[in-house]
Amino acid sequence: MSVFDFFKWLQYSSLLTAMRSSSWIFPVIASFHLMGLALLGGAVLLPDLHLLGVGMRQQPFAHIARNAERWMLVSLAILLPTGILQFMCFAATKYYYLIAFWVKMAALLLALLFTFTVRRRLLLGDETGLGLVRRRIVATVSLSLWGTVALAGRLIGFP
């Protein structure tokens, strides 16, 4: 089965056909996706601003980071199911052909990998080894990756 066949199977499954026939399910799911986006924004921004050296100099990185990570997981628990449902609604007729969708998926994968490996190790690790340059590079990469995810996501919604 090709990727396209899989997308077609998803889009025309009975659940998704029923979902598409309702005029309010899609915008309500999209709203919850946006609530997740807002929460993710806070959970990503706080540790990255901290790493950039903007404020909070007296607070340990690990305390803010650990708390932000918990809420990032909550936001992902909102974003992933609502995102998958939106994708399934028009998988074969819209998303398959959209470069923005594939860019978003690639950026999302990289952002998740980066956040839970390099960035996490830096934030939770030994404070003494944190040079400002290295911190700023990690924060910039994190903000760029998540920014790409958000921007590409917005482009998917363009007419």
Binding site: S31, L37, G41, L45, N67, R70, R154
Partner: protein, 189 residues
């Protein structure tokens, strides 16, 4: 001049038509409005969660507020500016949109909630801001704010969908809908 007349006048200005019919500008403004959610609601929500005692319990509330305020404020300015432009692009359609009206009422409640918080429990922050779990009034303020942000997002997202259920131009519809949307009915009141 009534609000209705103001919106009619606004809709007749060249800028409104230009923005409405622009190929990219409207979409750019809309994108700024949507993506700024992550800055404005994102930073506000983290503070609300701290007020509820659900995050960063070792950080004093005023320290967190001082840190986040410029970012939340910048997000708010971008939100209001882009939102005003979205209104300007279609003043009459927004004015008669039930979700838009509900969103503005919700926004007013959110402002009152923030105002009440600053004037009451926040004045006595020295007594509680280092507590892992703030007092009940602060937790309620945070929870109410969080709920109102979520409602604002939901109502905002529904604005373009109102035509699926009701529209001043598609009569007859229930009197309550006409009342809430402020529909001007042709041939009588």
């Amino acid at each position: 001049m009534s609000l209705q007349h103001f919106c009619e006048w606004l809709a007749g200005t060249p800028g409104s038509t230009a923005l409405h019919e622009s190929l990219y500008l409207y979409l750019i403004v809309l994108s700024v409005h949507v993506l700024t959610l992550s800055l404005f609601v994102g930073t506000a929500a983290m503070l609300d969660l701290r007020l509820m005692g659900l995050t960063m319990q070792h950080v004093p509330v005023s320290e967190l507020m001082t840190w986040l305020f410029p970012w939340t404020a910048a997000g708010f300015v971008l939100m209001i500016a882009s939102g005003a432009l979205l209104f300007y692009a279609a003043p009459l359609a927004r004015y008669h949109n039930i979700f838009f009206r509900a969103k503005m009422v919700t926004l007013a409640f959110a402002a009152v909630n923030v105002g009440v918080f600053y004037r009451t429990i926040y004045r006595r922050r020295a007594e509680w801001e280092r507590n892992a779990i703030p007092p009940r009034r602060a937790r309620v303020a945070g929870g109410v704010a969080l709920g109102l942000w979520a409602l604002l997002i939901l109502l905002g997202r529904m604005i373009p969908y109102q035509v699926y259920w009701f529209d001043c131009n598609t009569q007859p519809q229930p009197a309550i809908v006409n009342l809430l949307a402020g529909c001007a009915l042709v041939g009588g009141k």
